[in-house]
């Protein structure tokens, strides 16, 4: 049995992509880099959903429907997130999140 017919391979792939996104979200200083990392994590979850839909008979065809919903919600999230980043940038003149310290002072 090759890797293309193995659910565990897809789940490992999704886990690796999610971990890369987690690292980017925790480690990058730029707000837009953090949003891009969130998109990577959403894509990892989507890959896991589609893989479950393809391999588990009880979920037949429903995995793809749920994945489409997740993509639509991710688009909404990206719109609002980027709008917030642009609004903050207009006030603070920097995209770096560690310089957003107005509520700490």
């Amino acid at each position: 049995m090759g890797i293309a017919d193995n659910l565990d391979f897809y789940l490992d792939l999704a886990g690796a992509l999610f971990a890369i996104g987690t690292f980017g979200f925790l480690a990058r200083r730029n707000a837009i880099s953090m949003l891009m990392s969130i998109e990577l994590m959403l894509n990892a979850v989507n890959l896991a959903i589609v893989a479950f839909g393809a391999f588990i008979p009880a979920l037949k065809d429903r995995g793809a429907v749920i994945a489409l919903m997740v993509i639509a919600v991710a688009a909404a999230e990206a719109t609002v997130g980027l709008a917030i980043v642009i609004a903050i940038f207009r006030n603070r003149k920097t995209p770096l999140v560690d310089e957003y310290d107005a509520m700490r002072r």
Binding site: G2, I3, A4, D5, D8, L11, D12, L13, A14, G15, A16, L17, F18, A19, I20, T22, F23, G24, A27, R28, R29, N30, I32, L35, M36, S37, E39, L40, N43, N46, L47, V50, G53, A54, F55, I56, A58, K60, D61, G63, A64, V65, A67, M69, V73, A75, A76, E77, A78, T79, V80, L82, A83, I84, V85, I86, F89, R90, L96, D98
Partner: protein, 198 residues
Amino acid sequence: MRAWLYLIAAAIAGAIITTPALLILILFGGSTDDALLAALATLMLVAALAVVTMKDIIRCGLAMIVCFLSLAGIYVVLGAPMVAATQVLVYIGAISVLILFAIMLTQDKVAPARLVFQTQAAPAAVAAIILALLVALAAAGTDWHAVSARVSVATLALARILFDEYVLPFEVVSVLLLAAVVGGVFIAKREDPDQDTI
């Protein structure tokens, strides 16, 4: 001189991406699906690593497009062509362009020269590796009642489920998208304090 360097870098990247696929195809006797999946998975992971580690944020955005495209290829291998088409349309066509525009609106010229990572980058890397290992352990240790061959999604069946069983979530998502677009325009709208009239 720079052109030669780019060419060599491209050759090395191509070798890295195709090596697992060729290994699976030749040494382990896998099918063409296996080789395709290995190449796409390698490309996806390399592009994702480039997204989170590269200094120049425009290149991060372009690497993210490569990552989304290879993920769409993986969806095709998985037998979900509708999801792959939506991935290309929404992620590459809409979200990536949105992010590239946001990058161009918010970056200044000196930004790539500055420090890219927070001070907690090393603990974050350790945490991410532990997370990946935990997911792999959980995936290997659980019996998912999975079948041993993947089942393709018929687009007609998908449409029937989407507009019959899932029609309420579908409508809710459409309202959510409208609200998000209106909210995004409202938040990002330029407020000029000198002008009281709209």
